[in-house]
């Protein structure tokens, strides 16, 4: 599930690419996926994507993409940055949920079918709000400090309650958790311990 533990430090995304890229490549070769037929597509496979485009094409007035995107950046920067606490995070959750309403009403003037960057930015904003919700809702729920999450109200790591992955579901803003695999297949496990410098 993760090769980074609770942290994914800058530039370490390369580690993900190497590990999961290799695993995916090996899987494709082993399964001989090239020889297999694709599964039949459901008839409505493209409907959601087309619906998003159709809404943007037909909307004549509404919220401005640049303004809402700027507001989202400032909200996350202010409420879900390096040092966090309950008050900041719970306010952050409600502000992001309010912004979600505004994102659903964005409109663009540019309806061109040629290199329409306004449309791309609007679609990106719809994606950004999903990531923002996942981030701030998960961070608010996790009452401890671990890895990149530093909470001044819960400064300690709590392995008894929080040694687990967070799973966020879009439907109903629901959270679930999954145990951390402490038994790697081919190497010794690194036992978790306090990080001291």
């Amino acid at each position: 599930m993760s090769v980074h533990g609770a942290n994914r430090l800058g530039t370490n995304s390369l580690l993900d690419l190497l590990v999961f890229g290799r695993a995916a490549g090996n899987f494709i070769v082993e399964q001989d996926l090239q020889r297999r037929q694709h599964k039949p597509l459901p008839r409505d496979a493209g409907d959601m994507a087309l619906g998003r485009l159709a809404r943007l094409d037909s909307a004549t007035s509404g919220e401005q993409v640049a303004e809402v995107a700027d507001k989202l950046r400032k909200t996350i920067q202010g409420h879900c940055a390096v040092f966090r606490n309950e008050q900041l995070l719970s306010e952050g959750v409600s502000k992001v949920l309010e912004l979600e309403q505004r994102v659903q009403r964005v409109a663009i003037k540019d309806k061109s079918r040629i290199f329409n960057t306004a449309r791309v930015e609007a679609l990106e904003l719809e994606n950004l709000i999903e990531v923002a919700k996942a981030t701030v809702v998960s961070a608010e729920a996790r009452k401890e400090s671990r890895g990149a999450q530093a909470r001044s109200d819960y400064p300690e790591r709590d392995d008894v309650h929080w040694l687990k992955h967070t799973l966020w579901y879009r439907e109903g803003n629901r959270l679930d958790y999954k145990p951390v695999n402490m038994k790697p297949l081919s190497v010794e496990a690194f036992p978790p311990k306090v990080r001291t410098y």
């Binding site: 401005q64 003037k109 040629i114 306004a118």
Partner: protein
């Protein structure tokens, strides 16, 4: 701040036109790209490419007051008003400030921009002496923004036959690499009245390179190596 910007949407416009804009800047705005992002909020139909906003990705190359450069590392305060923005010259315009870079990349790919070495790799890596590694400085930093090739009159004239400064800089980057074994093939590939020798040391490429590189010097080195192997 006042701008005059090249506009063209083939769906709507019969011919390109220049459009005037006035944009209120914030005191935080430093670079031309900051102003363009504000303009885009004002008029979302203005199309330009941008990504890293720090001179690393090369997406926002454009012609700024007559000179090619990257919007994200061009100081707003040094620009004369109205700031005139046009797409990179010499390439087909897709829309507004966006050009079709196929021709540029076709030339780049034609020089085989990757290490060629048929010796089985050692267990760890192919080593170099520090002095050999130093040979690559000033060559490997190219971000393929195309400012140089689209400032070059020889490339404007023969974009299909002349490799252009960006491609030739990349060619020399591999010729100069102590780990590359294809120097001879690389020189053969360029020994042609057009591919290399259309460079007439006009040096527009050096003048515009936003990374401060010198393609003309690299082209000179390639020509030197060709002479050396001939005599």
């Amino acid at each position: 701040m006042k701008f005059r910007i090249y506009r063209y949407d083939p769906e709507k416009d019969g011919a390109p036109r220049m459009q005037d804009y006035d944009v209120a800047l914030d005191h935080h705005d430093r670079m031309l790209l900051d102003a363009l992002v504000r303009l885009k909020a004002q008029d979302d139909t203005l199309a330009f490419r941008r990504s890293c906003r720090e001179g690393v990705c090369g997406s926002d190359a454009m012609n700024i007051n007559g000179k090619n450069g990257l919007a994200c590392i061009t100081n707003l305060r040094e620009l004369k008003e109205p700031v005139e923005l046009r797409p990179l010259p010499g390439l087909p315009v897709i829309r507004d400030l966006i050009v079709d870079m196929s021709q540029f990349f076709k030339q780049y790919h034609s020089i085989r921009p990757y290490l060629v070495n048929d010796t089985p790799p050692p267990e760890k890596e192919r080593l170099q002496f520090p002095a050999e590694r130093d040979e690559l400085d000033g060559l490997y930093e190219c971000i393929l923004c195309a400012c140089c090739s689209t400032a070059c009159p020889s490339f404007w004239w023969n974009p299909d036959k002349f490799v252009g400064p960006a491609g030739l800089l990349a060619a020399y980057r591999f010729i100069a690499d102590s780990r590359d074994e294809a120097t001879n093939e690389r020189l053969d590939n360029l020994e042609d009245p057009y591919r290399l020798f259309r460079c007439h040391t006009i040096m527009n490429c050096v003048d515009v390179c936003p990374k401060g590189l010198n393609p003309t010097k690299a082209i000179g080195k390639i020509k030197e190596l060709m002479v050396k192997r001939a005599v």
